[in-house]
């Protein structure tokens, strides 16, 4: 994601979120731990699950899409979705309803297991709340 062009960032994000059958993972920030976690998220995104695609977008500057993400997070009833935006470092959008889920806070770890859980939570969200 561009770090200094909010409009371009919004357009790119919009083009992803409009796609169906896709779980979109958002990773916010640019720290050492984020950089270590990115290949893991990328690896997990290569795996297919019955035609369900996984994509990862890295938002190095979280401010750039703050309004958009905050609006979507506020609309979600998922665990930790109501946490302050500044406290969030990763979450996913559900494949059909595009609702935020699988939120990982800044005090959480970005490991294969936590990232995988985030993907699965987003997937489950739409099945449990059709």
């Amino acid at each position: 994601m561009p770090t200094d062009d909010p409009e371009l960032a919004r357009i790119i994000f919009q083009s992803f979120i409009e796609l169906e059958m896709m779980i979109l993972m958002v990773i916010l920030g640019d720290t050492e731990t984020i950089r270590q976690a990115l290949p893991k998220a990328d690896n997990l995104a290569t795996l297919m699950d019955h035609n369900m695609q996984r994509w990862v977008i890295w938002v190095r500057n979280p401010i750039i899409l703050k309004d958009e993400f905050e609006r979507r997070l506020t609309a979600s009833e998922s665990e930790n979705a109501d946490a302050p935006y500044d406290e969030i470092k990763c979450f996913c959008f559900s494949p059909l309803n595009d609702l935020a889920s699988g939120v990982i806070l800044k005090n959480g770890t970005l490991s294969y297991s936590s990232l995988n859980r985030s993907f699965f939570k987003a997937h489950l969200h739409d099945i449990s709340n059709p």
């Binding site: 290949p39 893991k40 290569t46 795996l47 019955h50 099945i127």
Partner: protein, 598 residues
């Protein structure tokens, strides 16, 4: 502390020294004292946890659940024996892997389905989330999951499915489990130890083991419910005063300690057996010194005879020393004694074989045949008697152990107490107090968690270390009735009946009271000291001292375990009221004043 230092320095100690260092460490360092046992009392359909800080009083007819915290247990063991931490680390990892692998079959079944519906998809996703939560919550699993995934993604996995990745992960976790199980086996050999849970009922009448469901295979004692509402005088109470004297005598006899009883037992047996061996020594000596015998003997026969005589003499001396040492003997190591008894039996058998050989040799000489047969018969009878005694003593001992208070030794003897590792120890055990036989208010129930360290030598018992002990006092909680018999000292009203001899102010009279009492769950002081009672009193006074008792009844208040009482009665026969007090002490003390019949 010393132990920890040695551990850091990687100094390995032999097992016996480990035990010594454990005690040193125990004395110096503060050992983790986290609570391992949780006691829950179930009474009248309600459950209550007996907190450590509260009074340890439980209802005498309740059920007791003893729960064990494995986590605290392991921490406690590791704090005492740091060498064992490796074993527990392996066990912890193995348990974590097993938990994770429990998801394997069902997850893979879901993943391999070609046709899926929303319902099965939801089930799969929930299962997957549960599995990943298990992984995340365990540090070992979490780190292995990272490593395995790192390895999996070393090559390009584009186009592969979650099913492929999951199969790869589970395959690797299975391999981990196999490796850990092998490693655990090798570590366990060096650090073998087991856990047992035992319970004992303790009172002044002798201790007894208590069956703990899941932890031993004892049968329950006779089923006995302590009656809450007692309204009739028991036979025991009827005979109470009359039997005090003989009762005291019996109690005095019972107060002989177990070691005294055993010493007495052994002395009686061993002294009688020594006499018999001494007679055999004399018999063989006389036979060998007989000139008729000597004329018939070859040189080889003489040598054999002397060897046999020396053996019997030596055996006699061993028995002699053994009997003398018994008087100074402190019973602390019953298994050593068992070994000694076994040795004495073996020696007797060996002498019997020598005697048989000697008899067969001598029997070739016709003139000596009868005499040697007679000696052989005497020797065999004597040694058979000794063998029988030494073989039977351990059984007698075991019987005494059950009755008496040496319950620590009892723990060592019993094979009915089950042993567990921390991985398979049951979560809880259950004690039905009604199944523990007769008991009284104030009896104690001792529950103890033991660490057993097997001995490296055969026939030597496990080293037993107490990990945690709880002592509960059993009482009938809440209202109950009791019948109490005793002597009262009555003071009749001077203005009433003319038949009463008022030269005396007080009259003694036997009485029985039906008392209402309350057992407290919160106060030992009340239960065991104050113990107030209120109720009806029936007394058999003889105010007119004509030798025929009158009937009196009224109200009574008692306290201090019924030792003191105070009340007001009405003598129905003479139609006169009186007040009374009682000091319920042994009334058969010689010299105690009683009413003189005119």
């Amino acid at each position: 502390m010393i132990y920890q230092i040695l551990n850091v320095l990687k100094i390995k100690l032999p097992f016996s020294q480990k035990i010594i260092f454990f005690y040193l460490t125990f004395g110096i360092a503060t050992i983790s004292n986290c609570q391992i046992l949780t006691i829950t009392e179930r009474s009248k359909g309600k459950s209550r946890v007996v907190e450590l800080e509260s009074k340890q009083i439980v209802d005498i007819n309740s059920g007791i659940t003893v729960s064990i915290s494995k986590k605290e247990l392991i921490q406690n063991i590791v704090s005492k024996f740091p060498d064992y931490s490796e074993t527990y680390q392996f066990q912890e990892r193995i348990e974590a892997l097993r938990t994770a692998l429990e998801f394997q079959e069902i997850l893979l079944q879901h993943l391999e389905k070609s046709v899926i519906n929303i319902r099965s998809r939801e089930d799969f996703l929930k299962l997957m989330l549960d599995f990943l939560e298990v992984v995340e919550n365990d540090p070992y699993l979490s780190s292995r999951y990272e490593e395995v995934n790192d390895n999996y993604f070393l090559v390009n996995r584009e186009g592969e499915s979650i099913s492929d990745q999951s199969q790869y992960i589970f395959r690797n976790l299975e391999k981990d489990l196999e490796i850990l199980l092998k490693e655990l086996e090798s570590v366990k050999k060096d650090n073998e130890h087991y856990i047992s849970l035992v319970a004992y009922k303790k009172n002044g009448r002798g201790d007894d083991r208590v069956h703990v469901e899941n932890f031993d295979i004892y049968s329950e004692r006779e089923y006995h419910t302590v009656q809450r509402w007692v309204t009739s005088i028991s036979e025991e109470q009827k005979n109470n005063l009359a039997q005090l004297s003989s009762f005291a005598q019996n109690i005095n006899q019972k107060r002989l300690s177990i070691s005294d009883q055993l010493k007495q037992l052994f002395e009686e047996y061993i002294f009688s057996s020594i006499d018999c061996v001494k007679n055999q020594v004399l018999g063989i000596e006389m036979f060998l010194e007989n000139t008729k015998v000597q004329r018939q003997f070859s040189e080889a026969m003489r040598v054999d005879g002397n060897i046999l005589l020396d053996k019997v003499k030596a055996y006699d001396e061993v028995l002699d020393i053994f009997s003398k040492s018994i008087k100074k003997w402190e019973i602390t190591t019953p298994f050593e004694l068992k070994i000694q008894f076994k040795e004495l039996v073996n020696q007797a058998s060996s002498i019997q074989i020598d005697m048989q050989d000697f008899q067969q040799t001598i029997a070739t000489v016709d003139a000596l045949k009868d005499e040697v047969n007679e000696i052989k018969q005497d020797v065999e009878e004597c040694l058979d008697e000794i063998k029988g005694i030494f073989e039977s003593i351990p059984h007698t001992w075991d019987a005494l152990q059950v009755q008496q208070s040496n319950y620590l030794a009892n723990k060592q003897f019993s094979e009915k107490v089950l042993i567990f590792g921390t991985e398979n120890i049951p979560d809880s055990g259950y004690i039905n107090l009604k199944g523990t036989g007769s008991r009284e208010n104030g009896d104690e129930l001792e529950i103890e968690l033991l660490l057993r360290l097997p001995s490296s030598q055969k026939d030597i018992p496990d080293h037993v270390i107490s990990i945690e002990k709880r002592v509960l006092v059993m009482h009938l909680i809440g209202a109950r009735s009791e019948i109490v018999v005793g002597m009262i000292i009555a003071n009749p009203d001077e203005k009433s009946a003319s038949e009463i001899d008022f030269d005396r102010k007080f009259y003694f009279a036997p009485s029985a009271s039906l008392l209402l009492k309350v057992g407290s769950r919160n106060s030992f002081f009340y239960n065991e000291f104050l113990d107030f009672g209120i109720g009806l009193n029936l007394a058999s006074t003889d105010f007119d001292t004509d030798g025929s008792p009158e009937f009196g009844t009224g109200f009574i208040v008692t306290g201090f375990k019924d030792i003191l009482s105070l009340g007001i009665n009405y003598n129905v026969t003479l139609e006169t009221p009186y007040w009374f007090f009682g000091v319920n002490l042994p009334f058969n003390i010689p010299g105690l004043p009683i009413n003189r019949i005119k």
